[in-house]
Symmetry: C2
Subunit: 629 residues, 2 copies
């Protein structure tokens, strides 16, 4: 059936279901949603469960929007008039995609009003559906820029969402029935994640990241399986780390025009890290593979979905994100394929254990036949100590080094490890387990932290309570200080004993290099690894004991400072957690593919899971294709 | 390096190697060969081993051709004048690709002359290198047509070979190193053969056949792995059966413009069967997937290679055909990839045992790491009786049925089974193990037999001796009679007891249907299966015991005649032969993929080979991709 006819049919069906007196002006596919435009949004909302009933019957995600929305600029004025100055409104953001207006205020209660009275007044005035959130305690320039950009591009984005929506809801026509996974990277290696999930009907790319050991090596994007890129239905991004997202903008340079699905924090973090990646590449004299224009294209084409929300992304594929416990917004991507035919999930990176920031990764799904799971610490001996033990060890190293007048350099991913370590050190100082001292943050760490506070619903409830109920935001502690200029960095280097948390986490570029150049030969100082160091990175070399390391331009890095590895802060599950993740899965999948790990670890994990749980396992190689059905 | 520069360099090198006084007018890549054009072909030929030395040093297949060749029409006149009428010349065919002229004569000795004197005279007159063969005892219209067509298209073909040659000899540029096999059909099923062998540099398609159970179902040609077809370097055809070659012409319809490599008899047999396939499709009211124009394209693009001849088909791939023992010209395709990197062979269909027509399949290779082997009779119980036993059984059935006044219908592939059965029955009658009677041949069987006698070097030496030395050509026995019209068929049906060998072999269309319509209900008659009946074919259904079978157009076939299956005539290896093929292989491959067999048989064979010979095995599914390196 032509899509126009389908929309017409849906329009008729909906009109028949909706009580008299409520208009259904038009219906339209916009991205994964079916949007009902009405002149009577309030009456629509008053009908209990009407939207739910329609959604169930039409098997679509349904959104109701007023036909007439006030012009955003005039709406801002109207909102401010209705609310008054008392609320401390800091931002008003019009979600053009959803017809919602996000009001950020220091006192959300004032915007809501008694029993929601003020909110209702706003709705009457402007048509937009207001949503109120507390102003994030740290302002993120990334979030601001992303919002500004989406505001500016909203007309283009509307057309784009309609185009995507019509593509998603096209008829299923294929006679064959098969499901395949093609490995374009990330097999028997860490990072360079890229998997193609394909059916006769659709093609989905999951992640598109860099190789941390060689940032210019993309996934195998030149093989025919993924071409033409215009035939891809969707890109699904599990989380914002560069080994999963670095090359997504490149897809737009090469002709991709479809959507990228992720959680909201993943979109913002990914954009931030991609721009930083370009910056670092540039500073190191590398040719950049794409420009900030392609990052903008990515943002323009991004569609965000929260955990647990089942979403059509192709005529025969539904996507649901589940918490992965790894970093802010990190998700396990679950695909329901065909009408009950098959279910496959990609873990991305998972932490199956509660951390200071997040809950443990989800391992319960409505249905699941196949799982592609990470194996970073999948080797038989890859045990991590408990978090408390790790923190004690870190405290002891810091106390020693500060005590002898040295500085502690902690290289960390700006997203994830940094925040965990910040929270541990802040508590250490607050509870006087550590001496009073400055903790400098260099690189994108502060900005990343700001993004964390913009999405409190993605943090675990303990931390959320601490920040919002007890009013104690550890990220705002005055022990933290941002390094925001070369001058400042110089002062830190020559100044008092302190801790520096800085990027990049595996020492492949970034400000950490400046600290190593200046302090690498200082025996009083210490370098503390708290995260995984991939093969081929400078971090791995130093860990292995290299002490004089050529780093290009005839420069040699001398390492005299003391080097430590503090295991236990990882955002990855250790071997025991990986096995437990499988052991407690509901339901048990029929097949598990072990990926995202060094060769020996993927093989070891695959064989251990098979032996212990009698699940068929496979450690694929890159560039292979496996049938699931 | 640009190809022009390379040719220039080669030209210089060759000029330095060639003795003074012999001109090297130009060098050119034509298909897989490097052609040296000279004004002095005879002086060139007089230099012992010069061509061999050049070939070894330049690592190319080298052909020397005179700059000036007499115009074919005038050359024909010249040849006839030199030879005279005595020789009984029946055909003169100019091999434009090689500069050879093939003279078919009833008395080859006369064309050769005393000590080759006449041949030398011919060379002097026309420039072309003469080759003399005995006129085939049965004239093949297919061979005649193919030759005529190649003659007409020779100018176009010359350009095409140059284009292909330049493509084959392009520079190797890829940095990555991998070898993959993608299964586009023929996995866990019989037929529909199609495999893609790819490296970062090249892509080769091996076979492209129909599904015998459903002749409209092509291999999975719609998946991206094989596109664009213009990027394919070569198609390699193992043998002429339709489940391996039916859809090769379709590739030209879809935009392929490259070569198809096969042995010479495979080219002619394939063209014959493709045209017959179109004819059968048409008669049964099916839409034909391509027309005879695409068959012509196929012939125009075909490059023939004999067994054992190592041939460059891509910058990093060399192909060698080896005898497969299955049908005339059937080959195991051996690929040598990279400079000593890896070797993989595709068996096509193999018979590892001597038959009346062929020697047993080859299983010795210079090097071999991976093998994709057929598994038609790969199940644990798939034993075939010895050929002598099978013949006794066939004789006994025929004697009984003829004795009771019935007719024996033997459906058989026109190529392979028919000739085996013909030879057995002819001997039976000759040695009076069978009563004197007519053996009617319907369908393409006679034409296929003619092609066999055109390529005697592809038959085993016993049969060759019988025909050419002892002067007893069993194919010419007067027991055989061709059915060449509906009238004649009607006469056979209503006539005396007899044997009818007729196509198609699995009863999916063809003249056999007419015999079944008329004689199916006659209890005195018998239907004797001598070949494999694939799932989904009418043959398989009757074998399973179906006795009233709807065959479309509201027609129902009634089967009252006696049905027999005589195992032991198969052109496939039985289980024991497959295991022996592996057991006696030299060298032993590291990996074996079992393909071209029903699911249970490929799995059973894979697990048996693994258990018995400790070779890693795999029974892939369709649409998968495996890394070899």
């Amino acid at each position: 059936m032509l899509i126009e006819e389908r929309l017409k049919e849906l329009h008729e069906k909906i009109k028949r279901k909706v009580p008299k007196g409520i208009t259904v002006a038009s219906v339209e596919f916009e991205g994964p949603e079916l949007v009902i435009y009405t002149d009577d949004p309030k009456s629509f909302a008053d009908q209990d469960d009407l939207i739910k009933i329609l959604a169930r019957e039409l098997r679509k995600r349904i959104v109701v929007r007023p036909t007439i929305l006030e012009d955003p600029e005039r709406a801002v004025t109207a909102i401010k008039e209705v609310v008054g100055d008392n609320a401390g409104i800091t931002d008003i953001f019009f979600e053009q995609d959803t017809g919602e207006v996000l009001i950020e205020a220091e006192k959300p209660g004032v915007v809501i009003g008694k029993n929601g009275a003020t909110l209702r007044d706003i709705t009457k005035e402007i048509g937009w559906t207001p949503k109120v959130v507390r102003t994030p305690p740290i302002e993120s320039s990334t979030v601001k820029q992303v919002r500004q950009y989406l505001r500016a591009a909203h007309q283009e984005r509307k057309e784009l969402l309609r185009r995507i929506g019509r593509r998603i809801h096209r008829d299923v026509i294929a006679k064959d029935q098969w499901i395949r996974v093609t490995t374009l990277g990330c097999c028997r290696e860490v990072g360079r994640a890229a998997f193609l999930l394909s059916t006769p009907e659709s093609r989905i790319l999951i992640d598109c990241g860099e190789n941390p050991g060689n940032s210019t090596s993309t996934p195998y994007l030149y093989v025919p399986e993924i071409h033409p890129l215009t035939q891809l239905d969707a890109v699904v991004l599990t989380h914002a780390h560069l080994d999963h997202c670095a090359y997504i903008p490149l897809l737009y340079k090469y002709g991709y025009t479809g959507p990228v699905y992720s959680t909201p924090p993943t979109r913002d973090l990914a954009a931030m890290l991609q721009l930083d990646y370009l910056d670092v590449m540039n500073k190191e004299g590398n040719t950049i593979p794409y420009s900030s224009n392609e990052v903008k294209e990515y943002i323009k084409h991004s569609i965000v979905i929260n955990y647990g929300c089942v979403t059509d992304i192709a005529p025969d594929i539904k996507l649901t994100f589940h918490n992965a416990g790894h970093i802010l917004g990190s998700a396990i991507a679950h695909f329901h394929i065909g009408d009950g035919l098959y279910n496959v999930a990609f873990t991305g990176d998972i932490h199956y254990g509660k951390s200071r920031l997040f809950n443990a990764a989800t391992n319960h799904f409505p249905r699941l036949e196949a799982l592609l799971m990470e194996s970073t610490y999948g080797g038989a001996g890859d045990m991590q100590p408990p978090r408390a033990e790790a923190e004690e060890k870190l405290y002891s190293i810091i106390s020693d080094v500060i005590g002898r007048g040295g500085k502690v350099i902690i290289p960390a991913f700006s997203v994830g490890r940094s925040q965990e370590v910040m929270l541990a050190i802040e508590e250490g100082i607050r509870l006087e387990k550590l001496p009073k001292m400055k903790v400098y943050l260099d690189g994108m760490i502060k900005e990343a932290t700001a993004i964390h506070t913009t999405y409190p619903e993605y943090l675990n409830s303990d931390l959320r309570n601490l920040i919002f109920k007890e009013g104690l935001n550890p990220f705002l502690s005055d022990c933290f200080e941002q390094v925001d200029s070369p001058d400042k960095r110089e002062k830190v280097i020559t100044g008092d004993p302190c801790v520096v948390i800085t990027t990049s986490g595996m020492l492949n570029g970034g400000p950490v290099m400046e600290y190593l150049r200046s302090l690498g030969s200082d025996e009083r100082c210490a370098l503390v690894f708290v995260g995984y160091q991939a093969d081929g990175t400078l971090g791995r070399r130093i860990q292995k004991g290299w002490r004089e390391i050529p780093i290009g331009n005839r420069e040699t890095l001398v390492i005299n400072l003391e080097c430590f590895t503090v295991d236990g802060f990882s955002g990855h599950s250790d071997r025991r957690q990986l096995m437990n993740f499988v052991s407690h899965m509901q339901p048990k999948p029929e097949k598990i593919f072990t990926i995202h790990g060094e060769e020996s670890k993927t093989l070891d994990l695959a064989s251990s899971i098979y032996k212990k749980y009698h699940i068929q396992t496979m450690a694929p190689m890159n560039l292979e294709t496996y049938r699931l059905v």
